[in-house]
């Protein structure tokens, strides 16, 4: 029998593809079912936030940050206001700091919930997606009450927060915590033991800590390799040094570790929320800030632990009320860089499993 001639095939996954979580395009070079090369094409959602920010006052940039990582907008809000506050050395009232921590950790939970739902949807399981949305809905409802929006919060201000918590809000959060713990248990029952799921994720897409650091990964993508690095602990900001929580780490650096760390981090976030709700003092929510914000001339960088990794804001001020240059270090974008080397030699069916576990948000990749 004559030998069958084979050739490589180019295939586009995306930009309109449900499993790329937005508008990411992967140009995949295939040899049969095996991936030879992957070239991620980003930029379909680029809005030029950094350039727009050069023409905006610092307060006006806050609503734009909502639209970067639209699953964890509170953390984005905080990254910006924190950078400006550090630069201007402003004093933030205690209550405002506590409110910020509560909403940030709730937002982290909401973001991780959506990761789990969307990831399982990628792997072909429909029901977890519907279950996690019920819990996420409760968090969004809480946010809607405190800041009047469900996704684009625009809640934080330089020097504090926009609104104090409405009456009874803290109690509602306290009631939510045990409910969420139950839900996490339910998710473990539903997903973690499932053999089909385990076969899809165990040992898939593994890398070691050295590779992760070489690619400057952060967040769960770094911690899944066993490297303990969380900015809330290693470089404490806000009032995180007052809370008792652990940094869960994985050990194999595969997709399963990344999945399980999301669940474990949610539990730790719940612990922080619980402690913050118990400790929150009365008082003002807005500090004394000048009407026009003019950070002294210089370069500033501040990074926080976002839902996906180190979310940094670097800006250059020339002493005016608008930044000379503003740069967001978006964890999704940085974490995505590992993807091509991770996918080489893999089976085509694993592409979605590996891409999903990186947990990217395209609003943040393209900024």
């Amino acid at each position: 029998m004559a030998e069958i001639r084979t050739e490589e095939m180019l295939m586009n996954v995306g930009p309109q593809h449900p499993s790329t979580h937005g508008v990411l395009r992967l140009v995949v070079k295939l040899d049969g079912e095996t991936i030879v090369d992957v070239d991620p094409v980003v930029g379909y959602l680029h809005r030029g936030t950094e350039k727009l920010a050069e023409d905006l006052q610092y307060t006006q940039i806050i609503p734009y940050t909502d639209r970067m990582d639209y699953l964890a907008a509170m953390l984005n809000n905080y990254a910006l206001v924190h950078a400006v506050e550090e630069a201007m050395e402003l004093q933030i009232p205690e209550r405002a700091e506590y409110l910020r921590v509560i909403v940030m950790e709730l937002n982290r939970i909401a973001s991780h919930l959506l990761f789990i739902g969307a990831y399982l949807l990628d792997l072909g399981a429909m029901s977890p997606f519907l279950y996690v949305f019920q819990d996420r809905e409760r968090i969004l409802q809480l946010f809607n009450e405190i800041c009047g929006a469900r996704i684009t919060y625009n809640y934080m201000r330089i020097g504090g927060v926009k609104w104090d918590a409405p009456p009874g809000w803290i109690e509602k959060v306290q009631q939510f915590v045990p409910h969420m713990r139950e839900s996490i248990k339910m998710l473990h029952d539903l997903i973690t033991g499932n053999e089909i799921f385990l076969n899809r994720v165990k040992g898939i897409g593994a890398y070691d800590a050295e590779t992760a650091i070489a690619y400057s990964l952060s967040g769960i993508n770094l911690r899944c390799t066993g490297y303990k690095w969380d900015l809330r602990r290693n470089r404490p900001y806000s009032i995180y040094d007052r809370f008792d929580f652990e940094i869960p780490v994985g050990k194999n650096g595969d997709c399963f570790d990344r999945y399980i760390l999301h669940l474990e981090e949610m539990e730790q976030s719940l612990r922080i929320v619980e402690q913050a709700c118990g400790q929150i003092p009365e008082g003002p929510v807005m500090g004394k800030v000048p009407k026009i914000l003019r950070p002294p001339a210089g370069e500033y960088y501040s990074g926080i632990e976002g839902a996906r990794g180190e979310l940094g804001v670097y800006f250059v001020s020339d002493g005016k009320d608008k930044p000379y240059r503003l740069k967001f270090r978006r964890p999704s974008f940085v974490n995505l860089q590992l993807l091509p080397s991770l996918l080489k030699g893999q089976n085509m069916a694993n592409l979605i499993a590996i891409l999903g576990a990186v947990d990217i948000v395209l609003g943040e990749v393209d900024c």
Binding site: L56, Q57, T59, Q60, I61, I62, P63, Y64, S127, Y131, Q134, E137, N144, E145, I146, C147, G148, A149, T152, N154, K162, W163, P166, M186, D189, L190, I191, T192, G193, N194, E195, I196, L198
Partner: protein, 170 residues
């Protein structure tokens, strides 16, 4: 096999639970008080300080006013372009007289782009539909007693400014 069945048990235990889906167009969601929906505008309260137009990150507000005989500034036109408005609430935050506020209204879909330009009259009508109606019910309305008087005043104001504009043309 055991883990798989455990998951199935969760699914089955969920079957008799109450549905959480909202049948949207038939059933409207209930928004909290702070919900940031489409704006409402109360012309009588506006002092034409221009702060809302300046703070707007997308520059979607344009307004103009004239100085009346009593040296007070009066708003003439007030337009919001909802094509680019991002409902960030900064305009209501800076407004010193609460002339511009946000309502629970959120349905903005339109058949043409032009329809998304909302003028002062539309925004005032939106006020009457939302806060105005509530304030009248509670008897704390800015315009005092009857709603008709308020509408009349605003409409009259609009007519007057039109007349004035007509006058300058002649």
């Amino acid at each position: 096999m055991f883990g798989f069945l455990k998951g199935l048990a969760v699914t089955i235990s969920r079957l008799p639970k109450k549905k959480v889906t909202l049948q949207y167009p038939e059933v409207k969601p209930e928004w909290p008080e702070r919900f940031r929906g489409i704006h409402e505008f109360i012309p009588e309260r506006c002092i034409v300080c221009n702060q809302c137009a300046r703070i707007c990150p997308t520059s979607c507000i344009s307004l103009s006013g004239t100085r009346g005989e009593d040296r007070k500034l009066r708003i003439d036109t007030y337009d919001i372009n909802f094509e680019i408005c991002i409902l960030c609430d900064l305009c209501t935050e800076v407004c010193p007289t609460e002339a511009i506020k946000m309502t629970g209204e959120f349905e903005l879909a339109a058949y043409s782009r032009d329809q998304l330009y909302k003028n002062m009259e539309w925004l005032y009508q939106n006020y009457l539909r939302h806060s105005g109606a509530k304030e009248l019910e509670a008897g704390t309305g800015e315009t005092g007693g009857p709603g008709e008087a308020g509408v009349g005043a605003a409409a009259g104001g609009g007519a007057a400014s039109e007349q004035k504009a007509g006058g300058t043309d002649e």
